[in-house]
């Protein structure tokens, strides 16, 4: 029993060590040459433009459902006209960043882990190294940059579409006047909320991509290993996003409010 625990702890420590090493190498690769510019552009397109549909749909339906649910609760206090305020605050501070990040974990995290994992088991990573290319610079750096910078952009889009979905429900189901809906949003929104909502996706984007790259590059055991790496990447990425959400929220509350 003790040896099992010892082995588990050693394995966990090794994973953390390798994750930190990869992250450090990726940061080093950002500001030193060579920088594979066309790979960076390609990843911005794949992670950013490629995730747009799923993020738009998730944002739209989340905002709409949120308006329906809060409308029911607000009716009990006769406060239906402030539904926009609740929708915007929830979307911008919490649901937009977290749901966008979870969508990205499913779409991007799994894709990266599967792609890099396949490259490992088919010796393509070794072939890259043998051809004089550092896999971290070629594969990890472009993905990390794209993850860090595209997650906030997608979150802002998701927030806006969510508020729009909320407006559709408020206007046509809850019969709230459009002007009232939009004015309650602007009145109820503070800069602190915006900072809170904008800071989170940077952290989430970084975590999703670095975890996926780490898991993908440590794949072993053939095609079964690739499947396992994909699952681990999604599970670890999702848990990391939710845990990081709590900690970033605490830090931002302490700093801004």
């Amino acid at each position: 029993m003790l040896s099992l625990l010892e082995r588990w702890l050693k394995h966990a420590a090794l994973e953390v060590q390798e994750y930190v090493r990869l992250t450090r190498a990726a940061f080093h690769g950002v500001y030193t040459r060579p920088l594979y510019r066309h790979d960076i552009v390609e990843q911005f397109d794949q992670i950013g433009a490629g995730s747009l549909t799923v993020v738009l749909l998730a944002g739209l339906f989340t905002g709409a459902a949120l308006a329906s649910q809060t409308g029911l609760t607000l009716d009990q206090f006769g406060a239906r006209p402030v539904v926009g305020r609740l929708v915007s605050a929830s979307m911008i501070k919490e649901l937009g960043p977290v749901l966008t990040a979870l969508m990205l974990t499913g779409r991007i995290g799994s894709g990266i882990a599967a792609e890099l994992g396949s490259m490992v088991v088919t010796d393509q990573i070794n072939a890259l190294r043998a051809l004089g290319t550092d896999p971290v610079r070629k594969l990890v750096v472009p993905r990390v940059l794209a993850g860090i910078f595209m997650a906030p952009v997608l979150t802002v889009i998701s927030d806006f579409i969510g508020i729009l979905g909320g407006w559709a429900v408020a206007r046509f189901q809850l019969q709230v006047n459009s002007g009232l809906y939009w004015s309650s949003i602007t009145k109820g929104l503070y800069m602190q909320d915006v900072w809170m909502g904008l800071s989170k996706p940077f952290v989430f984007g970084f975590l999703i991509v670095t975890i996926a790259c780490h898991v993908g590059l440590r794949t072993s055991g053939g095609t079964a290993g690739v499947g396992k790496a994909t699952t681990v990447s999604v599970v670890a990425g999702s848990v990391a996003v939710i845990a990081a959400d709590f900690f970033v929220t605490q830090i931002m509350i302490a700093l801004l409010y």
Binding site: P34, Y36, T122, D123, Q124, N126, A127, L128, R129, A130, L131, G132, T133, D134, K138
Partner: protein, 282 residues
């Protein structure tokens, strides 16, 4: 008086015929409890062929990975082109790898890139060579291995033998002086395997490339060791039986459980009375 640096002296020695381009000196490697290589020592001479034979798991591919620096030996010294690769960092290994071409088992082609992009990968990505020149070189090497018409195909559209040949083209595109073949013919039918063998021979004899061939395919090992490429007066390339002098330039190593149990030429290998070798050859 001008003093020479160590690098200049090494370069001068390596330029001479008969210079050692790869040297293993008492190399050992183990993964946890499993010993992979035990006290392995050998030398590869410039322009010669070293064929490493052995059963699966005997440590053959590990030797190639140590030469390229993909794995580090636990003990011993490894020299490649005058540099001690066992002591170099990943960054410093890049200069050693610039002169090494490696063909992996199954080819290890980049499946998201076309044949053209695969073959020219190093030149496109890691050099400042103008694109027109890279394209010209890619077309030249694909012509050399007879796959020019497949230049715009994806690796998934090629047969197994074609993929191996594209892998050879990718490794030779940047004109390395040493080629490492890791089971380049395993899993191929005899006719396709012979085509791949002939590419290895042509590369060795026409481009003066030193070769290390890891295989357990005896037929291919002896074919490469006992044939040579010859260009006739009309410029036509033929693969013909090797002269005795050329045959002696191909040496065999037999590995068993990470230990060298035989080293010598094809005739000595055939004449060996070691029961394991006799079993292996039968």
């Amino acid at each position: 008086m001008k003093t020479q640096t160590a690098a200049q002296t090494a370069k001068q020695i390596l330029a001479e015929a008969g210079a050692p381009v790869v040297m293993f000196d008492h190399v050992q490697l183990a993964f946890d409890e499993k010993v992979v290589l035990q006290d392995v020592s050998f030398t590869v001479i410039k322009g010669h062929t070293k064929v490493i034979l052995g059963a699966s798991g005997s440590g053959k591919s590990t030797i190639l990975k140590i030469i390229v620096g993909l794995l580090k030996a636990d003990a011993g010294v490894v020299w490649v082109n005058g540099q001690r690769v066992d002591q170099l960092s990943e960054q410093d290994l890049m200069s050693v790898r610039a002169d090494l071409g490696m063909i992996f088992q199954e080819g290890a082609l980049f499946d998201s890139l076309t044949v053209r992009e695969n073959v020219g990968y190093k030149l496109y990505e890691e050099t400042d060579m103008p694109l027109e020149e890279v394209d010209k070189r890619v077309e030249e090497v694909l012509g050399f291995i007879g796959l020019a018409e497949h230049i715009d195909k994806m690796p998934s559209e090629l047969s197994g033998g074609q993929r191996r040949r594209v892998a050879i083209a990718r490794a030779m595109a940047f004109k390395p002086s040493i080629m490492l073949y890791d089971e380049a013919t395993t899993g191929l039918d005899p006719i396709t395997a012979t085509t791949v063998d002939e590419e290895m021979i042509k590369l060795r004899d026409l481009e003066n490339v030193s070769s290390i061939i890891v295989t357990h395919q005896l037929r291919d090992a002896f074919f490469v060791a006992e044939h040579m490429a010859h260009r006739d007066a009309n410029g036509k390339v033929e693969v013909v039986p090797a002269t005795p002098q050329k045959e002696r330039q191909a040496e065999f190593i037999m590995l068993r459980d990470g230990l060298i149990i035989f080293e010598g030429d094809a005739d000595s290998l055939r004449a060996s009375q070691d029961p394991y070798i006799r079993d292996f050859l039968s």
